[in-house]
């Protein structure tokens, strides 16, 4: 890695002020597990890193709101999410996703905010949280804002964050009886970067699917809602013909990329099949 300066602000406002909206070689670093890979390969050569460890205590808490929503501070480690009792009880899909998300050491160090802000479509957390209807809170120099997580993503490794904005927390609403599942499909080891990620959540009323969210990642340039697949599921009984229609709709609407994890036609076929499996897994409530 090439030399750079590391600054260590003690407050969120100080951290934001040390970032520069015009300067791409100045970036925040939380756990650094993803950023260091870019630095080692020479893809990113920073002039300055703004280390966020100084603001960790107040921004790493996982708290349960009165309405059942879980607020996860951006500096929480992935391992903290994995071990959190409220996450285990209320969002088991999130805990399960952690098991094959890289490995224990990376989960010990990587932070939730970094995993969301990095914009790498192969990450597991963004599709799972997006399918759970999560919203991100963002702090900037003048004001804070909030948005549905899937709106954070603008393209391949691109987000709508300004260079001097920081994610402060992600809030996940209570499931309230909704079913959810995440299918991670890898072409090598189970904990590898996926060829495809499919996350679903939906309600059930009188045997019919209500208000489904279907989110695809890894095979696409960014975390993407599959609106046609959602329409195919809405108000339908989750039987084989419905699931087939939804899988076909997703395979049709997704813009899929070829990469080292599989060709586009292969991943399209994976999506067709794994969307059905994701809905079935959500219905089954899935043991580990």
């Amino acid at each position: 890695m090439t030399p750079f300066e590391m600054v260590e602000p003690a407050s969120l406002q100080e951290a934001v002020s040390l970032l520069d909206p015009q300067e791409p070689t100045i970036r925040p670093v939380a756990g650094g597990t993803a950023l260091m890979l870019m630095m080692k390969s020479g893809v990113f050569q920073p002039m300055r890193l703004v280390c966020l460890h100084g603001i960790e205590p107040e921004h790493s808490r996982i708290t349960l709101a009165a309405n059942g929503a879980l607020r996860i501070g951006a500096m929480a480690t992935l391992r903290q999410v994995e071990k959190d009792a409220n996450v285990a009880a209320r969002l088991p899909v999130l805990k399960r996703a952690m098991r094959t998300l890289s490995n224990v050491r990376v989960r010990n160090v990587a932070r939730v905010g970094g995993a969301l802000a990095h914009g790498d479509p192969h990450m597991d957390l963004p599709p799972v949280l997006a399918a759970l209807g999560a919203r991100v809170a963002i702090a900037g120099p003048k004001q804070s804002r909030e948005m549905p997580l899937e709106e954070l993503y603008a393209g391949y490794y691109e987000t709508v964050l300004e260079k001097n904005e920081l994610i402060t927390a992600v809030t996940v609403p209570a499931l309230d009886g909704r079913k959810a599942a995440y299918m991670k499909v890898t072409s090598r080891t189970a904990d590898d970067w996926p060829s495809l990620g499919v996350a679903v959540s939906f309600g059930l009323k009188n045997g019919a699917i209500r208000d489904p969210l279907v989110v695809v990642s890894a095979a696409t340039v960014k975390v993407t809602r599959m609106k046609n697949a959602e329409a195919a599921l809405q108000n339908a009984a989750p039987d084989d013909p419905t699931l087939r229609r939804a899988g076909d709709a997703a395979a049709e609407e997704a813009e899929i990329l070829s990469d080292s994890h599989g060709s586009a036609p292969y991943k399209r076929e994976l999506l067709r099949v794994y969307l059905r499996r994701a809905v079935r897994e959500a219905l089954a409530g899935s043991a580990e």
Binding site: M1, T2, P3, F4, E5, M6, G32, T33, M36, L37, M39, K40, L49, C51, H53, R99, T100, S102, N103, V104, R105, V106, N108, V109, T189, A190, D191
Partner: protein, 154 residues
């Protein structure tokens, strides 16, 4: 650019100080103290050869900035027999023959210590998941799983 800063931390029970630049990683820092048990192998956090405990939490030394250990406690594989006897995990690896070339062994041993702290009586599945981020190119995996279970029994 000279951006070196002085850090002070506890290294295997001893307080130490050194000046280091922000672009150095934890493996490079340990090498300055003649500690070579943590080895950078894949350089991507995948293989576990560079495992180090920071405040008793396992990290990949190759993906951890050296300056981040300032004020913290760092434990390497070299410290496990500090009281003169091999740790139960180390002894179990020998007894089960859980290595051939030994390059990955420090990482496996440190991760196995962490695994047994969290799962004192681990199932095969627990072991496989916990150690999935450690690679052994000699493929001593069956013996490694045996060693972890042996250490758990002791």
């Amino acid at each position: 650019m000279n951006t070196a800063r002085t850090i002070t931390f506890t290294l295997n029970g001893q307080q130490v100080s050194t000046a280091i630049e922000p672009h150095r990683n934890l493996v490079e820092l340990l090498q300055r103290f003649d500690l070579f048990g943590s080895r950078e192998s894949c350089g991507q956090g995948l293989c576990g050869c560079c495992t180090v405990l920071v405040d008793d939490v396992a990290v990949s030394g190759c993906l951890y900035f050296a300056t981040w250990v300032d004020g913290k406690s760092v434990t390497t594989v070299e410290h496990l027999d500090a009281d003169g006897a091999l740790s139960p995990v180390q002894q179990a690896f020998i007894d089960a023959g859980a290595f051939q070339c030994g390059y990955c062994t420090p990482g496996f041993i440190l991760m196995s210590h962490q695994l047994l702290k969290e799962h004192p009586n681990p199932s095969d599945d627990d072991i496989r998941h916990y150690l999935s981020g450690n690679l052994c190119r000699c493929a001593a995996y069956p013996e490694i799983i045996e060693a972890v279970k042996l250490a758990a029994k002791r």
